[in-house]
């Protein structure tokens, strides 16, 4: 690790103003992702702004009947929160499907949504990487890329976003509340993470200096049907090869409302809107789920080693939808 300063801002405003005036400063919350990166010299900040002691640790019910979750709520606290477990079981399951107890005890909501890709080439400074150092090249595109993107990648970057929580958040239509020097603004979750395009160094649409202060979940009447299915190399403690979040509102035979989001397949948590629209008004049966899965993956493109993820994603979508149609639970 290189030398840097450590500062404890005393308010959200103080944190934001320091981060805005020093572009090389980085926020640190739980530190579970950042420390990991500092150790391998991925980031070389001038100073760390420790926001972990600021007051953003509440989970409150909103006037609309949803939840407002402070950015510093730990992953453990969020997953175990009674309202989350009852009203957004899919979020709770997605969080518990990730990392370890010890990490969830430290990791915060803001940090989880901001964690960076786990692409091994990004992580190894011996390789060039457009995300780490713009315009140096992308060895993953031609290298070992079994875990890499099948949707929305560019020739500059094929990395995937590793966050499980984000997949749930995008399926639940969450909104982010962020603060900059100019004040607060809201960003719909679907627009928060970016596709790599020509600027893979930017993961999100957060402006420099902005701090995430909260995530707002709208009420989702059919969230009980939520499913989070994570496929990975071993039974636990691994990032997803493919993950799927689904929820269905079925009335009689007919689908009224559908949510499908994919993780591990793209540079951002991937909402399969077209497949959702296809399902609306259709019967909740196997063949429609199959078609929805086909639609969701129709633009998918395989690299040399990750072709299996396309078919795997389709199967995962079908299985998750089938469980959602039965009212949700473990898939």
């Amino acid at each position: 690790m290189k030398n840097f300063a450590y500062v404890r801002p005393n308010s959200v405003e103080d944190a934001v103003s320091r981060a805005t005036s020093d572009r090389d400063a980085l926020f640190i919350a739980g530190g579970t992702n950042l420390v990991d990166r500092l150790k391998v010299f991925l980031d070389e900040p001038s100073q760390l702004l420790d926001v972990s002691r600021l007051a953003m640790k509440q989970i409150a019910t909103t006037n609309e009947g949803g939840l407002k979750i402070g950015a510093l709520v730990t992953n453990t606290a969020l997953a175990n929160n009674i309202d989350v477990r009852n009203n957004y079981p899919l979020l709770s399951r997605a969080i518990l499907a990730g990392a370890s107890q010890q990490i969830r005890n430290m990791a915060t909501v803001g940090g989880n949504l901001m964690q960076r890709t786990r692409c091994p080439y990004y992580y190894d400074t011996a390789f060039p990487c457009n995300k780490r150092q713009p315009d140096t090249g992308c060895p993953a595109a031609t290298g070992i890329n079994r875990i890499h993107a099948i949707l929305g990648s560019s020739d500059r970057c094929v990395a995937v976003n590793p966050s499980d929580m984000s997949v749930a958040m995008v399926a639940l239509d969450a909104t982010l509340e962020v603060q900059g020097v100019e004040g607060k603004r809201e960003i719909p979750f679907v627009d928060f993470h970016r596709l790599p395009g020509n600027t893979p160094e930017r993961d999100t649409n957060l402006e420099p200096g902005e701090l995430i202060t909260a995530v707002i979940l709208p009420p989702v009447s059919f969230a009980q049907s939520g499913v989070y299915l994570k496929l990975r190399d071993r039974a636990s403690y691994a990032f997803a090869l493919v993950s799927v979040a689904t929820a269905l509102e079925v009335s009689g035979e007919q689908i009224k409302n559908a949510r499908i989001a994919l993780g591990g397949v793209a540079h951002k948590p991937w909402r399969a809107t077209e497949a959702e629209e296809f399902l609306i008004g259709k019967a909740a049966n196997k063949s429609n789920f199959e078609q929805a899965a086909e639609i969701a993956l129709k633009d998918a493109q395989a690299l040399a080693h990750n072709g299996f993820k396309i078919e795997l994603s389709k199967r995962a979508i079908r299985r998750a939808l089938a469980v959602s149609a039965q009212g949700g639970g473990e898939a």
Binding site: F4, V35, D124, R234, Y237, F308
Partner: protein, 909 residues
């Protein structure tokens, strides 16, 4: 920046300053909390778990700067006059072997909430263990707080055959500073190595000026500073069988990660920065990653004239093994069915949680002392003596508690440069490998391609077998030929077949070297052989169990293949009973069709194996056993307890012979200055060879004591009986303490020292059955349950043997389903960490039923045979066979990761 940090550790206040980049782990260790173990430093293993305000966290990824005003609890803080309930449970149920994962496990487990065993296993996902297979850990946690627990026996009871607790337990569950890195002499310098970024290059020029100028740097060494002398890093007895092809520091690098230069500095961080300041001008050479390409000889990896014992350097062939018997042509001509397949086995890593670490310094009298995490202290001493021209008596190598080795510490990797630095600077030096170095610059299991061609009669008798292995030994040939020898020798030797041939070619490539790894080549060969047998069974429509029973060797057979000088022998044989136990445990019915439920298919599969106990006539163990003036015994042995519990088993053997208990026998081990020679801990030899040495020495001491007592109390020796603390005749009794003092007065020593090698290496057999479930939609294999029976001769300590079996089985499970070092075209390892290189976690492990079949072996102590390695061999082939039964898909490549399974199924469709 806060001026200083105020926080509490185990209710004790601390006020310190630290660098903002420091992790809580480093801070705690620097404050003396050595029970917080450093393993991955990336949040992947849990060995560093502590509580932050009562919540378990990974201290390695927690910034020390954030600890201000918090309360930390470490393993040292759990003990409050007595052990915490969880510590007690781990002790009672022996939830550890080497103990390196134990403090973290206990810290996590103490705070877990769960409703079922499955939930417990899932919750334990942040803590990895490489030794136990988790079974004993899960048992410990489940039993915690259960007052009705039957208390385990203590060292006061029983001897051979009893579950005497591993005597290092109390130290391990409390996090005592017992490992190599937990203590060092004052004034310690730290060593780091600059490693090659190229797979193959010559060093034209190397400039260390900038590195030397950095403040805090003590010295920098390159090939110019060392005597050029070829040696092997393998820990073998002299004369070593391996190619002599490695140099302390060389003017050529042969894989990405090879040593270029060494820096010693005040801190590891300074040494690391200095490494980056070294300027090297490389002449980049063409390289070869793949053995088949390498054998063409377009690139010559060892072109230096000083290297020797290389089979064919011009074609990069480090060694060659040819074994033959009978006549293949005749055999194949008789066959009704001939099957030929190639199996592909990956390079995998040991992942012992404690890294390689050595500390060296010069004693007051000029003795060079090396404190090291090694399986072979005596071989290390010999090599150091040769490399630095120092007489052996002036070098002391000893090992503290070992945090696992699995073969990777049967290698001299970290001691040599430490010693170089100490000799040049006169100061104490430590070299500790990072986890990344463990993955990229130590050794792997040999990657192999194995082709087998088998001819059988229609009724199942094997009539001819031809096997050929191409074994990738990487940049250096350590263990290459000996490992590759066993690849053919054991799997072929296991079956009665008159016509067999084996050719093993050991090939250099520009990749990390391969070396010794539990199973030592037999693991690879067993996969190929046991897979093919099932294919034959299915082609001939014969029950695979029957096919094996028909062809397996029995006591009536001679081991026909191998080399005479290895003297492998069937001392005792219970493989038939093993098969019976396993098939019964799994309710095996050959008529039963595999089950299919939706996208889930189930199947069962089996595999057999054998492995020798030690190396006959080569593996030398000397022990010394004495009656001390306090009336207790002292056992000195150079053998190394890798964490398995051999120090306890050896004391049990001595106790049995001397009619006493483990408690009355102190043991001093693995110290070249204070214990007699032992070849070290490898080849499943400790129980069989060192154990027998202890047995014989104890018997001799016993007679000696009786004789001496008879003289003192003036009766006939025959009348006397030795038990516990005294020797008694019909009339008189003399306490051992008295006896010892009396002998001392007379200037007599009550001590026996003897050397032992075995004329024969007895074979241990094992049989494993597994039931698996294959998800045909995802390709995921789930092992539902397994049963393994090991023909162990005699279990000196059944619980310790059981732990070896479960640990080996789960290591095999990783090999079967997940583990693989991935290389790019340059031979660079792309997954050098525990996050991307996955070893099994608790939830990956199925229920395991272990049977230790005891049929005494005439050559081992009390009938015992080796068990250290055999458990690893069968898991992968048994799973592959079960998958084939379930799905019809035959997997010939490891690991059987979901996408491979799935793609194979697609092909079948």
């Amino acid at each position: 920046m806060p001026d200083s940090l105020n926080f509490q550790v185990n209710n004790q206040s601390h006020n310190t300053k630290c660098n903002p980049g420091t992790s809580l782990l480093s801070l705690l260790r620097s404050l003396g909390y050595a029970g917080v173990h450093r393993v991955c430093e990336s949040g992947d293993c849990g060995s560093c778990t502590v509580w932050l305000d009562d919540k378990p966290i990974h201290s390695c990824i927690y910034p020390a700067m954030q600890v201000d005003s918090h309360q930390i609890t470490t393993i040292e803080g759990l003990e409050n006059g007595k052990l915490s309930p969880m510590q007690q449970a781990f002790l009672d149920k022996q939830g550890f072997q080497c103990g390196y994962c134990t403090p973290g496990m206990i810290m996590t487990a103490s705070k877990l909430e769960y409703n079922s065993e499955a939930e417990l296993r899932a919750e334990l996902e942040g803590n990895l263990c490489r030794c136990t297979g988790y079974e004993a850990i899960i048992d410990s946690i489940l039993e915690c707080g259960n007052d009705n627990l039957v208390k385990p026996i203590t060292a006061k009871e029983g001897q051979v055959g009893k579950n005497i607790p591993k005597q290092d337990g109390p130290n391990l569950v409390t996090g005592k500073p017992v490992y190599t890195a937990d203590w060092s002499p004052p004034g310690l310098l730290h060593l780091k190595v600059l490693r090659s970024p190229y797979p193959h290059a010559r060093i034209r020029e190397i400039n260390t000026t900038k590195a030397e100028a950095l403040e805090g740097v003590e010295a920098v060494f390159t090939h110019k500073d060392v005597t050029r002398r070829a040696y092997s890093t393998a820990g073998h007895g002299a004369p070593v069988p391996d190619p002599l092809d490695h140099y302390l520091l060389d003017n050529k690098v042969r894989f990405i990660g090879d040593r270029v230069a060494a820096v010693v500095a005040e801190t590891e961080a300074i040494a690391a920065i200095a490494c980056e300041l070294i300027e090297v001008d490389y002449e980049i050479l063409p390289h070869a990653i793949d053995p088949v390409t390498a054998m063409k000889g377009d690139v010559v990896i060892h072109d230096e004239p000083e290297s020797s014992q290389i089979h064919d350097a011009a074609h990069n062939i480090a060694g060659e093994v040819v074994l033959e018997k009978g006549d293949l042509n005749t055999g194949f001509a008789e066959a009704d069915l001939i099957l030929e397949n190639t199996y592909i086995l990956p390079a995998v890593q040991h992942v012992h949680l404690e890294p390689h670490v050595s500390i060296s310094w010069l004693d007051e009298d000029g003795t060079l002392v090396v404190r090291s995490s090694t399986q072979v202290p005596f071989h290390c001493q010999r090599l150091l003596s040769e490399l630095f021209d120092i007489p052996k008596e002036k070098i002391r190598v000893y090992k503290p508690q070992l945090g696992g080795g699995f073969g990777n510490k049967q290698e001299i990797l970290s001691e040599d440069l430490c010693v170089l630095a100490t000799l040049k600077t006169g100061k104490p030096v430590q070299w500790r490998f990072t986890r990344e170095e463990e993955f990229t610059a130590t050794n792997s299991r040999h990657a192999m391609n194995i082709r087998i061609k088998t001819g059988v009669k229609s009724y199942g008798t094997i009539v001819a077998q031809e096997m050929e292995a191409i074994s990738n030994t990487g940049a250096y040939g350590n263990h290459g030929e000996t490992v590759t020898f066993l690849t053919g020798c054991f799997p072929l030797g296991l079956y009665r077949c008159a016509n067999q041939s084996y050719k093993g070619t050991v090939v250099y490539t520009n990749t990390m070297p391969a070396g010794a790894f539990r199973g030592y080549g037999a693991t690879q060969g067993t996969f190929a052989m046991e897979s093919q047998l099932d294919e034959i069974a299915s082609k001939l429509n014969i029950d695979p169990i029957k096919l094996r029973q028909q062809n397996l060797i029995t006591t009536e057979d001679e081991i026909l293949i191998g080399r005479e000088e290895h003297f492998h022998i069937i001392g005792s044989y219970a493989l038939d009973e093993c098969i019976e136990k396993v098939t019964q445990a799994l309710d095996y019915d050959p008529e039963k069709q595999p089950e299919t439920k939706g996208h889930i298919k189930r199947g069962v599969g089996f595999a057999a194996t054998m492995q020798a106990s030690g190396l006959a006539k080569i593996h030398l163990a000397s022990v010394k056993i004495s009656l001390m003036p306090n009336g207790q015994y002292e056992l000195r042995t150079g053998s190394v307890d890798v964490g398995t519990g051999s120090d306890t088993s050896l004391r049990q053997i001595a106790a049995e012979v001397l009619g006493t208990t483990v408690e009355n026998i102190t043991i001093i081990t693995a110290d070249t200055h204070n214990t007699p020679f032992d070849a070290g801990s490898y080849a499943s030899a400790t129980a069989f060879i060192t154990g027998q040495a202890v047995n014989l020495a104890a018997q001799k001491l016993r007679s000696h004591l009786l004789k001496t007592a008879a003289q003192i109390i003036e009766v006939n020796t025959e009348e006397l009986k030795l038990d516990e603390a005294k020797i008694s005749g019909s009339q008189t009794t003399i306490f051992l303490k008295q006896l010892a003092q009396e002998a001392q007065k007379r200037g007599e020593s009550l001590s026996v020292e003897l050397e032992h090698t075995s004329d024969r290496a007895s074979l241990t057999f094992a049989f494993l059955g597994v039931e698996v479930e294959v998800d045909t939609e995802t390709g995921r294999i789930k092992v539902l349950r397994c049963a393994e029976a090991i023909d162990i001769g005699k279990a000196i300590n059944p619980r310790i043997c059981h732990g070896q079996a479960t640990g080996g089985l789960v290591m095999g499970l990783g090999y079967a389903l997940a583990e693989e070092l991935r290389f790019n075209e340059q031979g660079k390892i792309l997954n050098p960490g525990l996050r991307t290189y996955r070893i099994p976690a608790a939830s990956d492990v199925p229920p395991m039923e272990i049977f230790l079949i005891e049929k005494a072996d005439p050559y081992g102590p009390f009938g015992a045979k080796g068990i250290g390695e055999i458990g690893t061999n069968c898991t992968a082939p048994a799973i592959a066979n079960a998958v084939a039964q379930a799905t019809g898909v035959r997997l010939k490549q490891l690991p059987m990761i979901p996408e491979r399974v799935w793609m194979a199924m697609q092909k079948l469709e």
